[in-house]
């Protein structure tokens, strides 16, 4: 699996290859691995209470039985988890041993702050024989590598994909869209063909929309930064801003500026949207109740002038640089990201970041049970092969950069500014962020 990344410099990629090689050698050499080495210790895990951690923690008792380590779980919603982490890390506290992290969002920032322990050195010393690093998505490992330091192990792979209604497409004489222009043309035709349905829905909520907008920008051929400056006012940047906002303004639901995954899934599941551009993680929610199982098809977002450059990210597990027991913490990380555990999570709908799990017969059997699962996996394969982990600006202040992108898109959706002014205002704020050290 190969994933483009705009975050990792070439020198870090070389370092990563060396890390991966040393981990693999070390793993092979560890003939007899003692899982009970840290028996009696307690490891604290700061978790985002999302489907990924829920699927993992369903097997918490297995870990405790295998290792004799007590796992203390500190679970919060995503934003609250970050608040807790920031407080703990700023105090250099050892309260948290392992935490969940999104390298695409906070990776640069946390790495620059020195909050991540280097997992490569841990994996080199203590890796179970079956911990097959080579089968983990190298792309996601790269996305979690900063300045040659491996900061997290991938737990899943995810990205925005297009869910669309085959029955409505058929009724309106439409084919599967192959390009972004096809998506817009289909939305236009759907609006005329069935006035009761929302033709297209995606994220309009300011901090949430860069996740889907980045896919549009990259497919069109745009980039966030050129020559050290924000690039939203470039022709491609403006085209992406206009296309994304036009799709939502002209063909989206009323109130789309407050839409994130929750509203999008609810609208699509209720049968009131013909196309939904939303996270692959929402498959389970969208299919709840089974109404959309037979009339939905899934594809990676159609190509723009630059082809398909889907957004592909994943949650990672990191060990705190302030943990007083990093080795015991690493035992939990390697168990949680091992092939066996990731296979158990995969059949619960968590897309595996390992090629060996994705091709595992048991997992394939689960996939083959429903055509929609096959399409889901096919879309994920495209994400893994062609994806970019760039969501927002590849800078330390990435979370803040998402605000400016979101504001520019919302200004256009709400017709509050012309595109030249919206992008110029965003570029001004973003240039200041890029200049920040």
């Amino acid at each position: 699996m190969r994933l483009k990344t705009h975050v990792v410099p070439p020198v870090a990629r070389v370092a990563l290859s060396m890390i991966a090689a040393s981990v693999a050698v070390s793993a092979a050499g560890a003939a007899e691995f003692d899982w009970t080495k840290f028996q009696g210790k307690t490891v604290t895990f700061l978790a985002n209470n999302n489907p990924v951690s829920q699927a993992l923690l369903a097997h918490k008792a297995d870990f405790e039985k295998l290792t004799g380590i007590t796992l203390k779980v500190d679970g919060y919603q995503e934003q609250q988890m970050r608040q807790r982490l920031v407080t703990v890390m700023n105090a250099h506290s050892d309260e948290v041993d392992v935490f969940m992290t999104l390298p695409s969002r906070e990776g640069q920032q946390f790495a620059a702050a020195g909050w991540y322990a280097d997992l490569a050195s841990m994996a080199k010393g203590e890796a179970a024989p079956d911990y097959d690093t080579a089968s983990l998505s190298q792309a996601l490992l790269k996305a979690g590598t900063f300045d040659g330091k491996l900061t997290s192990m991938p737990m899943n792979i995810e990205g925005p994909i297009l869910y669309y209604r085959t029955d409505i497409f058929k009724k309106c004489g439409l084919e599967q869209p192959a390009t972004i222009r096809d998506v817009e043309a289909a939305a236009k035709k759907l609006k005329a063909c069935d006035g009761g349905i929302t033709p297209f829905v995606s994220r309009g909520l300011k901090p949430a929309l860069p996740y889907t907008f980045s896919n549009m920008l990259h497919n069109i051929g745009g980039s966030y930064i050129a020559n050290g400056k924000s690039n939203l006012c470039s022709p491609k940047g403006k085209e992406a801003l206009e296309t994304y906002s036009r799709l939502l303004r002209d063909y989206g639901p009323p109130g789309v500026v407050n839409y994130s995954f929750y509203q999008i899934s609810a609208l699509y599941r209720s049968g009131r949207a013909a196309m939904a551009f939303e996270s692959s993680n929402e498959l389970r929610t969208v299919m709840e109740g089974g109404e959309r199982l037979k009339d939905t098809a899934l594809i990676a977002f159609p190509a723009g002038e630059a082809g398909q450059v889907p957004t592909a990210i994943g949650w990672g597990m990191a060990v705190s640089a302030y943990s007083k027991q990093p080795d015991a913490a690493w035992y939990f990380v390697q168990w949680a990201t091992s092939p066996a555990v990731q296979k158990m999570m995969a059949v619960q709908g968590i897309a595996p970041p390992r090629s060996s799990v994705a091709s595992d017969p048991e997992y394939r059997k689960w996939i083959d049970e429903e055509p929609v699962r096959q399409q889901w996996q096919a879309a994920l394969d495209v994400l893994a092969a062609k994806g970019s982990s760039e969501v927002g600006y590849p800078i330390v202040a990435n979370p803040e950069s998402r605000e400016f992108i979101g504001q520019a898109v919302q200004d256009l959706i709400l017709n509050q500014k012309p595109v030249d002014q919206a992008c110029a205002d965003a570029d001004k704020g973003l240039d200041a962020l890029i200049a920040q050290k």
Partner: protein, 299 residues
Amino acid sequence: MAGIADTLTQGLGRDRQRLELGALSGPAVLFTVAMIAFPLLYTIWLSFQSFSSTGKQSFAGLANYTKLVADNEFWHGLWVTIALYLLSLVLQLVFGVWLALVLFHARRLPGIVRSLFISPFMMPPVVAGMMWLVILDPSLGAANYILSALGLPPSDWLASPSWVIPTVALIDTWQWTPYVALIVLGGLQSLPPSVYEAAQIDGASGFKTFQRITLPLLLPTIVTATILRSVDLLRFFDIIYITTQGGPGNASNTLNIYGFRVGFEFFNIGYASALMLTLTAIVFGAVLAFNRLRGAVAW
């Protein structure tokens, strides 16, 4: 000699009394220092620090405060905070007094109905926010369904930059009007009946009685309710965070929401502390002003 002995005994008694008082109040003083003074002083100290995106800290003097004066988002947040405060407060006082009068006069109202009237403020604001988010969803929500059933055009509610502040104010009014009503109801029950008897003998109408007797006598209670609601409304956070996160755009970005995002999403703790101290000063100012007003309207 006896006088000196008495004086000494009295002096020793006073010292002992002081010691006892000190010992008894000591834990309370320590608790107050630990829970109020320390966080406040720490926040003041933080507001003079600068934090880089990576958490590196340095002394910044008044830089955070000068940045605040030049920050358009701060002034916008202040405007949103005040607009939301005034609108919500007026609605809650008007409906709160009305609801209190209804409950006061409808003495035979069954207990379950009374409980239903006051139930919204017992609901956690997060739950209330989620519930209204669903009701006000422009596509799937019940609110637009009712409007269309009545032949009225649909609204974007929380998704409209023009309607978001009135809509959030209405949600908060729905939740906190019963709280104001309970305070006012307490005030109504303590009013002297003799004044009403005199008004009745003089032939005052119901409206005149309310205007000339009930309302003036209730003013201290209403000011108390105003103080309590002011503290909450100026720090308005939970419902906005659940429903709009300050949007659309920055249309509902109150100072509290702005400070939270600066501190916990962008990790600029120094500037967030300056923002929050400014908000604290505004809240204190409002409370002091209303306290003086309460003194003026006391009877």
